[in-house]
């Protein structure tokens, strides 16, 4: 005997576009595999949510759901934007909400992505698009880390069978495996499936910590000066991620110094409060004030104009191929997750990165 429930489940899962089943209180009752992939969450996670938890706030899609539940008729809308921080960017989705035949109080939401348009978009934007990086990072993580674990383990076993002096080569294997792992972990920062935790923090303590770390870890002598406005309020941010931001920016400056004969290498960190700088929030389009201005300025040779336009894209670098190239794109991604902005001013006398962030008050 074939179990009927299983047939339904398999049929639902073999449908290639996302299907979500909800009840009249908008609780998610069931989703198919395509919907799990679309929302980057498992059925288990989704089944504890309501539809308004996974659709963007004030999306027209929610209106369709309400209307269908109210009237019992079919509702459709084309080219809806369903992008959220959790599911990533999903523009131009055709959405259909229908009552499920013969089942009271159960409704079906079907999402159809425009495949032709999507394909074209992927080709055009290619690697520049950080959302394609997000999918890539997940595949990379799983498909590369498994063989890496095998390689690393094998090297460790060989190492134990040799004398200490003979382990140089196994050390190379282990260190290089760890380097690839770090690269992949960095790529995973582009994965926007988990929203970041933002808290009021003292930006000066972040900057001082980074300054300390960079002075102690830098091979060459670097002067890092500070010019802080002690009266600025706390900023709204994620401490660990902002540490990463300023480490990357300062590292960038230090590496730029290597191409110059200037003996007085200096990086200046400054903060100030500026009224009137506002931007629109990515999803809700509300105005947000960004009064905190942080600048990381160096007197290095500047960034070549050939790449300064796209310096925040992954793998764009003036360095040799294979030497990094993710640093500034990670910076840009983190600042964007903070609803902040980053600007670049560069000429032959130096480079200045200006970051603007939200403040507590």
């Amino acid at each position: 005997m074939i179990n009927n429930i299983n047939i339904h489940k398999h049929v639902l899962n073999s449908i290639t576009f996302p299907v979500i089943i909800i009840d009249d209180l908008k609780n998610i009752k069931m989703v198919n595999s395509a919907a799990e992939a679309f929302f980057k969450s498992s059925l288990k996670v989704l089944a504890e949510k309501k539809i308004q938890d996974i659709f963007p706030f004030s999306s027209p899609a929610l209106f369709l759901v309400d209307s269908c539940i109210k009237t019992g008729s079919i509702y459709k809308e084309y080219k809806v934007d369903l992008s959220t921080p959790m599911s990533g960017i999903h523009k131009d989705i055709d959405i259909e909400v229908t009552p499920v035949t013969d089942l009271k109080k159960i409704f079906q939401i079907t999402l159809i992505e425009d495949y032709h348009e999507k394909k074209l978009l992927m080709q055009n934007e290619n690697i520049k698009n950080t959302t394609s990086m997000s999918n890539m990072s997940q595949i990379l993580a799983h498909e590369i880390k498994n063989p890496l674990a095998g390689i690393r383990g094998a090297a460790q076993i060989i190492e134990k069978k040799f004398d200490y002096d003979d382990t140089v080569m196994t050390e190379v294997i282990i260190n290089e495996v760890d380097r690839i792992k770090r690269l992949i972990d960095n790529l995973q920062i582009f994965d926007s499936s988990s929203p970041i935790d933002l808290n009021p923090i003292n930006i000066h303590s972040v900057l001082r910590h980074v300054r300390e770390v960079m002075i102690n870890s830098s091979k060459n002598k670097v002067r890092i000066t500070e010019n802080f406005d002690p009266s600025i309020p706390k900023i709204i941010g994620n401490k660990d991620q902002l540490i990463q931001v300023f480490i990357n920016l300062i590292k960038n400056s230090i590496e730029a110094f290597e191409n110059t004969s200037n003996s007085l290498n200096e990086i200046n960190l400054s903060t100030s409060y500026e009224y009137g700088f506002t931007v629109k929030e990515k999803f809700t389009h509300k105005n947000i004030k960004l009064p905190i201005r942080i600048s990381v300025k160096d007197n290095g040779p500047g960034i070549p104009s050939s790449i300064s336009e796209e310096i925040f894209q992954p793998f764009v670098s003036s360095k040799k191929i294979g030497q990094g190239g993710l640093g500034l794109s990670i910076v840009s991604k983190i600042i964007s997750d903070h609803n902040g902005t980053i600007e670049l001013e560069t000429n032959k006398n130096g480079t200045n990165f200006i970051i603007r962030l939200m403040s507590e008050f």
Binding site: K44, K145, G150, I151, G153
Partner: protein, 134 residues
């Protein structure tokens, strides 16, 4: 030294080979499972003193059966290793009663330390249970 038995659940042949031979060299007995079905059989048969397991397996995700495993074998420490290196995986693992989470590619010495610690931690629990019974 130890004749403790480790269940190793992993579908990647290289990781299986490397991890099992390393642990065997240390004196552990290693029983292997390549999927959730085989793992569940070993759990039901009361095999193993500790479980080292991958998350994504050919017939499903570990977290689908981890609650049942920890319920049936309360005293079995579980070390979760995964290539899905994100906070969510670590949280799911510890929430569901795993002893520790180790991202791939992992350090075999670190794994060994975890195994040792987890097995040591197990002892006092067992003693407590005996006291309770008396």
């Amino acid at each position: 030294m130890s004749n403790k038995t480790i269940i190793l659940t992993e579908d990647d042949e290289s990781i299986k080979l490397v991890t099992s031979s390393y642990l065997q060299d240390l004196g552990y007995e290693v029983i292997m499972a390549s999927n959730l079905r085989q793992l569940w059989k070993l759990i039901e048969d009361n095999k193993g003193d500790i479980l080292i397991t991958d998350v994504m397996l050919p017939d499903g995700e570990l977290f689908d059966i981890l609650p049942q495993i920890t319920e049936l074998r309360e005293d079995l420490p579980v070390i979760v290793v995964s290539a899905k290196n994100n906070l969510q995986t670590a949280i799911s693992a510890t929430k569901q009663g795993a002893y520790e989470y180790l991202p791939k590619p992992f350090d075999l010495d670190e794994l060994q330390n975890l195994v040792k610690k987890a097995l040591e931690r197990k002892k006092p629990q067992k003693i407590n249970q005996k006291f309770k019974r008396k």
